[in-house]
Symmetry: C2
Subunit: 424 residues, 2 copies
């Protein structure tokens, strides 16, 4: 096993061993946000490392002293790989001892995670949300349209997606305000206006585009895979009652636009290489532009936890795996570009809700409680059909190697009450 | 009538009299793109004017020497109004003679439009497209879902909209590459992949957000109106065959993401003040958050022209008016924010297709040819159900005053052939 000289990074269950090295943006005290890498319980300050000349990077010396990863992501795979190789060397027991041997460099470059504030790791150029989990699509379709129309006729041919709202993508830890909107009560002719009463989560992974593509130029699945910088956990908060009333004919809009949370550390594609897996067997042949050139999906274990308002700890309410997705992020990105849509550094692609075949593997409360009819009973005794004010929802996940984990950390959000609007 | 000392600005039919003063971004030769205002057949170079101290603007001296209007738009209504007042004064016959009296300043600041390249006037933060024209919604619904389901049940209660793709919003004059995609031929079980065969336009207006709003905070219609900087013509290019196959259940995606064209000059809300009009009478009461506090729509005459491949000139194929819209842009923006969605400087809101009640007033070919069944016969003898390669489509529009026009110029695009993909 490759080990790090950083305390704690080699412990069983640690999300951030030297094999991971996920990128994020952090600050301490009043200092400016800058780029860093998670290692054990520390953050390695890449801005200081770069300035000290310990990271040679084509493209200048100011790549990491920035409040987003976009500059670094835009440099492309050669730069990503060379920085990863250099960091691995500096942080491994058997690697370059320069850094380990210099207590003052260590002092300046290593910050305890508990003393840092984590920020949105990249500027989200645009956010697209897909619908690529088959079990979820069937569950959802059954509840919204009936079992005979559960899977839309296009679903097995196209990675169905829609454009989401980038301005409300927030980093884990940001409170989520319950949205207002129009809903139509069952049997009513006329909608009502007020706070959402069926507030939900969607467990997703987000793929982060590093390399852009030009307008008018479709990219292949292999090229799309090459463009992806890494992955995050993503919670696609959803207002089910608002969604049911608004989504026909043009899709979800305000029911999704109020918030999307992502985990603070972008786990690189390189770190996930050992966990590649093929998408499931096809029911229908895909057109050539969507075929996998090799495995483009990943084996990533995922959990949803809930800490209901007032409870002392969070408990797991669902467990599933990313490998269930019918379309991979690379296939989604290829489809996204096929019309000539320009893709940009910082584009975020939500995978769609990740639900496994068993009920305990469903990635949303709507599915777990089957439309609210079968509420969850939690250890604290509380029951939940949907999310109440003060509840905290947590996503976590990791790829499990033989003797290490490539962890994603957590994606956390606590729901706060809706605003009073319009003012009386 | 208020007149300008600039040649041509006072001529009947001129789109850019001194009453208009729309903002855009231009360059000449190899010079850097910068902000300007259209006046007659000239562009007033605001970067030079600002540097010469002729435009006092709180917030620094570098607002206009930039390749987008975003900095200026973000300053808000007080700055917009003071710059407009100052420009009116400098350009009017009866105003401040400083500029008119200084031939060297005139020489440096006034550029003939025919010698300039016009750029995308602002960085599009995000693009949202609405569906607020009732005649269009009824026409479209009849063709896609049948007459009895033409208007969705939510339509009279909500300004229906969806998130579009900002990365492919281009300035007038940019060629539009025919998109590739999946389509399902009539009666077929399995889709085919190839170039779109039912390529269309949608005649829309775009509202440009100047002032941002915070996440979690809905804005009223009055506040939304206050946030809007101005309006452009917008062509929401649409691939009808791709759209029909993909749009259920999550809305249009690749059928719209390949291109959206806008006119180069942002006509300010201030210039349009005399043309305010109320939205049409309500069929259903709106909830308070959507009610107009006063007239928030505009009387703007609109035309669609087509120049088929090989023809010597363009001819008008539709004439309509913006006042037909059931929901105004301010109502759309208020709805957009009601869930707590953060709105940003540079957000672009497409109005939805503007179709009047008569067939000659329909704003898309799908409607004008009723799904392609009744092709147009053009003066050149060519017939068109949908757009062919080499065809040029032109939108134009103006608000007609007693003795002047507030013109939008043109929004032009020529269609080029689809790429070969995947390579054999």
């Amino acid at each position: 096993m490759m080990a790090s000289w950083i305390e704690g990074a080699n412990e069983a269950g640690c999300h951030f061993p030297v094999q991971n090295l996920p990128f994020g943006v952090f600050s301490t005290g009043d200092s400016a946000p800058r780029c860093g890498v998670a290692i054990g319980e520390f953050i390695l300050d890449l801005a200081v490392l770069e300035q000290a000349g310990l990271l040679a990077l084509a493209g200048g010396t100011n790549t990491f002293a920035q409040p987003t990863l976009n500059s670094f992501m835009g440099l492309g795979p050669d730069a990503w790989n060379s920085v990863r190789a250099r960091l691995t060397d500096l942080l491994s027991v058997s690697g370059d001892p320069t850094f380990n041997d210099d207590p003052s460099a260590r002092e300046r470059c290593l910050i305890a995670q508990r003393e840092a504030t984590l920020h949105l790791p990249f500027q989200v150029s645009e956010y697209t949300d897909f619908y690529a989990g088959r079990q979820h699509a069937e569950n959802f379709g059954t509840m919204f349209r009936g079992p005979e129309k559960a899977l839309p006729p296009n679903w097995l041919h196209i990675p169905i997606g829609y454009n989401g709202r980038a301005s409300t993508v927030v980093v884990s830890g940001t409170d989520i305000r319950r949205p207002l909107g129009q809903v139509r009560p069952k049997g009513a002719d006329v909608p009502e206006f007020g706070p959402c009463r069926r507030l939900d989560i969607e467990l997703e992974m987000g793929a982060v585009v590093g390399l852009p593509s030009p307008m008018g130029e479709p990219v292949s699945v292999a090229e799309a895979d090459h463009m992806i910088f890494g992955y995050v956990l993503l919670n696609d908060w959803s207002a089910r009652d608002i969604q049911a009333w608004e989504y026909q004919p043009l899709g979800p809009f305000q029911s999704k636009a109020f918030a999307t949370s992502i985990s603070p550390w972008v786990v690189t594609k390189a770190a996930l290489e050992p966990f590649r897996t093929s998408t499931p067997e096809r029911d229908k042949d895909l057109p050539p532009y969507l075929r996998e050139p090799g495995p483009t999906n990943y084996d990533i274990e995922l959990e949803v936890l809930m800490q209901p308002n007032g409870a002392e700890h969070a408990e797991t309410i669902a467990r599933t795996n990313f490998r269930h997705m019918y379309y991979s992020s690379a296939q989604q990105l290829a489809h996204h570009s096929v019309c000539g849509c320009k893709m940009n550094t910082g584009d975020l692609l939500g995978s769609g809700t990740i639900s496994g075949p068993e009920k305990s593997q469903y990635g949303s409360l709507l599915e777990l409680t089957w439309g609210g009819r079968d509420p969850l009973t939690l250890e604290s005794g509380a029951t939940r059909a949907f999310i109440e004010d003060g509840d905290t929802l947590i996503l976590t996940g990791w790829a499990q190697g033989e003797d290490y984990r490539i962890g994603f950390g957590e994606c956390v959000g606590t729901v706060t009450p809706a605003p009073s609007f319009p003012a009386a």
